[in-house]
Symmetry: D2
Subunit: 242 residues, 4 copies
């Protein structure tokens, strides 16, 4: 079983178009389709819970953390951020969704500013550039999203270890929409679709990508402690005199 925790800041519920796009909140929509996978055990966590719902017990029992945040990035305490970062470095997978490009744990793991261009309401065509990648398994070469927030380059990220999806936007921009990085023993996947007033998480292909990504970033092993060991030499060597 892959233990999955879906985190959402869960704000904006006073906007009807936010509520209607993702009834019950984005975490509920994500947990709903993820929960249908028989090898996933899914729970959710939100900002207003104690410790943002991310207690030590929760993090220790999470293989893959999905993160959706936007207007409340600054409300996540640095102490929680450090725990999430350490959990990734020890092996927990992280999937940063849409506006989580500026979520504190993602920015900390990248080491860059993660800034980009944006504009509401473009038509997006999401292209697969690495069709052989496990995250693209069963995904069509192009997914049409009739309305999405445009995210455009220059996206200030480290060169991805693997670039899997590129987004084309009707207003003239494009974006590295699906990227993978290793950080310590953990894998990080950033995925661009998912604006709070759009219905991308109801798209079957977007769901397939997120399901694939959970399996891909799930750890094979976790590291227990972080230290700099000082071993004895195993070999005795000297320079050959010529």
């Amino acid at each position: 079983m892959i233990k999955v925790t879906v985190w959402n800041e869960y704000t904006g519920q006073d906007h009807p178009e936010v509520v209607s796009a993702n009834p019950g909140g984005i975490h509920a929509v994500l947990a709903s389709f993820l929960g249908e996978e028989t090898d996933f055990k899914v729970r959710t966590a939100i900002l207003e819970e104690p410790q943002c719902g991310l207690t030590d017990e929760v993090l220790e029992n999470t293989d893959v953390l999905l993160w959706w945040g936007h207007s409340a990035h600054h409300m996540v305490p640095d102490e929680i951020v450090e725990k999430v970062v350490k959990a990734v470095q020890k092996g927990m997978g992280l999937i940063a969704l849409h506006s989580s490009h500026l979520a504190k744990p993602f920015v900390r793991l990248m080491g860059t500013t993660c800034t980009l261009k944006w504009r509401d309401g473009d038509y997006e065509k999401l292209w697969t550039v690495a069709p052989y990648h496990p995250i693209a398994e069963g995904v069509p070469e192009c997914i049409d999203l009739e309305s999405e927030e445009m995210y455009g380059e220059r996206f200030d990220i480290p060169e991805p270890d693997e670039l899997i999806f590129l987004g084309w936007f009707s207003g003239g921009e494009l974006f590295r929409s699906g990227c993978v990085w290793n950080r310590g023993y953990g894998k990080v996947f950033y995925f661009q679709p998912g604006h709070e007033t759009n219905r991308s998480y109801s798209n079957e292909h977007i769901q397939k990508i997120i399901i694939n990504a959970v399996r891909f970033v799930a750890p094979t092993i976790k590291r227990n402690k972080i230290s700099c060991p000082n071993p004895q030499p195993a070999m005795k060597t000297e320079k050959i005199k010529v």
Copy 2:
């Protein structure tokens, strides 16, 4: 001085729109603006010359080879292709332009099929994703090309060592338009604009990119011979008995 050779298959001169887009041939247009750089020494070579204009003497005296081919890829003899490939592996820079994605030397150096999607006459917006890269120096974040051949993903190339430009096309596709790879001691830059009936090589920004690329792929050193040496050990080592 960087010794530059511009190679062009130089076909299609019976089509007036080819002739008018690049008067004198694409090699002449490229050599003209490259020749204005005081640190470049530029010559041209074309398919119909003996040995395609790429004699041992020419290759030995070339730091950077630009290549433009399209309908006559198959007419370049394999023997010449091998010489070009070896020259790159020893340090010569190669800039493969536009439809040279299927030129034999480029395909040999990539190890993939280098296939892609295509369609004539789209509007292209060429975006810089690595603005800090020497090839992007002095280049705007977006270059508008009013008419270019659409090249679309999936572009079957090895993961680029560096991805510098992405192309957005009006019909809905996008493309990894500017990519760098190391092959042996040589650097390879693939650059998408430059269809034979369009005037992209007259665009000042496209010219700037190609000029920058010549300097970037010019070798710092060249390898003289290709061999597998069998050295004596430098160290005497044994396992420490525990």
Copy 3:
């Protein structure tokens, strides 16, 4: 089931130390431990069989091809090499073992010379640098090989997409011993241990790595045909007049 074909040039059987190190040939030793995995269906092929044992039927029914060659690289016909290369580009995984760094299919897929330094009979310590990688699952951080052929840098390969193992040699050299590249829809893993007079393929950890690698390079999908499609536009776009 993953359909595995183990290819070996199977030469040197007139040398007793070759025969005793890998009784029945390296292909037999590899097939023996691979055959114990219940999700693998393993067959072997050798140079002296018709078409090197690599008929169209065999290649079409191979998910992962292991390749061991050394003194007979030149005896593999180019026609067979091209078929192997195309099969990889369409999705077949390739594991190139030890002296197969100069095997024609590997060199064709890399696009470099794949030269290196070598010397018989060093002590090797094989270090894991990507312990989180599926190929390193269950593998100790360091494997001691009491006698192996030293392979040393500069190894003339393209920058690996993933570097998993580094080899330390008692005479003073080191080597990028375990590397992964994507080529088309296929994954390629190069793995250094396995000299014909040494017993590395009897080491349980080396076996574990090769078993892991088979699962890792096995394709999720295969590409049927290689072509450059010419699609109709999906979008109608014009520049906004300002």
Copy 4:
């Protein structure tokens, strides 16, 4: 002119072997040979100066910052660290030397723990794996360092954008000793040699590498502000009705 600032924590001066290995401090030794390059303008800064010697004025007038720290990482205030990180993200080059693998600015830019193995007093052979790289220009394929601190894998860093040097150690370990990453508009080079009781910075080849690195990480452009712009669309697009 490349404006170079050499930062050193400058501790341990009560240990005679530290003083004698690098008279005047490591910053003085580095500044001395860097100062001989006619295109470099070099200054130094140390921990005990106000604001660690890294005032806004100094950082704004620094193209390349060299950093050497070890036992006093924790004494660099987080506010200074953030300024250094931001300066790199805007384009300043950073060269992190030896035990600066745990310096706060380096760790922040990597997003990993940067832990490793260590042991005093090994013999090191430093091998060039990317001889074509500008940082390796004029550098021999192997540099012998008769006494250096062993740094060993697993080095917990993100996959380097370019791996240039590997270190072999007499006790049986090896290390990714020279690595480059892009972070925002800035380049980061980590370089392993330089223990405080050894004389590696007096080695002419080590000096050559550091001089080359300064030129390589010097910015071509700097980014002025860090923001997420909200541009108007440039194109008007609609889906083609079929």
